[in-house]
C-alpha cells in the first residue's frame, strides 16, 4: 500500500466517526457511550427476566419490588435517556445513509434531539408521578 493509498483509506475509515471536533464529535461520543451502556443493560435485563424461570416467580417479584424504589426509578430514567439519545441519533444516521437531509444535517440533528426531549418529558412525568404516589425514601 502506497502512502497515498494509506491516506485515502484512513480518511475513508474516519468518515463514520466524523471530524474530531464540534457538535458531531459530541453526538458521536454520547452515541457510543449510550450504546455501550445499553449493551451492558441488555445482558443485565436478560438476567433479571430469566429469574422468573431460573429462580421462580417470588424471587422475580422481589427483584421487581426493589426496582420500584426511587433510586432505581431514577436510574431507569437515565436508561430511558440513553435509549432515546441513541435511538434518535441513530434515526439521523439512517437518514444520512439514505441521503436524506444531508444538506441540513445539523437541523436534522436538532429535530431528532427535540423529539428525544419531548419523549423523555413524557417518561419523566410518568416516573415522577410514580415516585410521588409511592412515597418513601431513596431505597
Amino acid at each position: 500500500m502506497s502512502q497515498v493509498d494509506r491516506a485515502t483509506a484512513s480518511a475513508a475509515a474516519n468518515v463514520g466517526a466524523g471530524n474530531w471536533k464540534g457538535l458531531g464529535m459530541w453526538a458521536w461520543m454520547l452515541f457510543r457511550i449510550a450504546g455501550v451502556v445499553l449493551v451492558l443493560y441488555l445482558f443485565a435485563h436478560i438476567g433479571v427476566i430469566s429469574t422468573g424461570r431460573a429462580a421462580g416467580a417470588d424471587t422475580m417479584n422481589d427483584v421487581f419490588n426493589l426496582f420500584d424504589k426511587t433510586l432505581f426509578v431514577l436510574l431507569d430514567l437515565l436508561l430511558v435517556w440513553a435509549v432515546l439519545f441513541h435511538g434518535l441519533n441513530g434515526v439521523r444516521i439512517v437518514l444520512m445513509d439514505l441521503g436524506l437531509g444531508i444538506h441540513h444535517h445539523k437541523a436534522v440533528f436538532w429535530v431528532c434531539m427535540a423529539v428525544a426531549v419531548v419523549c423523555f418529558a413524557v417518561f419523566a412525568y410518568s416516573a415522577f408521578g410514580f415516585i410521588r404516589d409511592q412515597g418513601g425514601g431513596l431505597l
Binding site: 483509506a9 475513508a12 475509515a13 468518515v15 463514520g16 466517526a17 457510543r32 450504546g35 455501550v36 445499553l38 449493551v39 441488555l42 445482558f43 436478560i46 427476566i49 430469566s50 422468573g52 424461570r53 431460573a54 416467580a57 422475580m60 417479584n61 421487581f64 426496582f67 420500584d68 431507569d76 430511558v80 435509549v83 435511538g87 441513530g90 434515526v91 444516521i93 439512517v94 445513509d97 413524557v122 417518561f123 410518568s126 416516573a127 410514580f130 404516589d133 409511592q134
Partner: protein, 121 residues
Amino acid sequence: MKAEVLTQSKGGVWAWLFQRITAVLLIIGFTSHLISTHIQAIGELNYRNIETRLGSAFFVVMDVMLLAAVLYHALNGVRMVVLDYWCAARSRRTALAVFLWVVGLAAFAYGLWALWPWITG
C-alpha cells in the same frame, strides 16, 4: 465516493445493512416495549403481569423479534467498537465475529428459554 467508503468499511457491507435494518426494527419495537412497560404498567411489573402480556400473540412476536434484533444490533455494535481500537488481521477479525455470534446465539437461546413458560402459558 459513497461506494468507495462502503467497500472500505472495516465492518463489512452486510453488517452495515443489517445494523440499519435492526435499528429500524428496534425503533418500532422499543416504542411499543417502553410504552407498555414504563407508562401503561409502571409499578405493576411482576411475574403475573408479564404472563398476561405474553398471553397475546402480538407481544410474543414483538418480544422475540426484539430479543433477536437487539442482540444482533448490540453485538455488532460491540464488534465495531473493538475494530475501531484493535485493527487485527483478517483471521482474528473472523474469530471475533464467530465469538460474538456464539455469545449472541447462546443469549438468544437463554432468553427464549426464560420466556418459554409465559409463551406456552
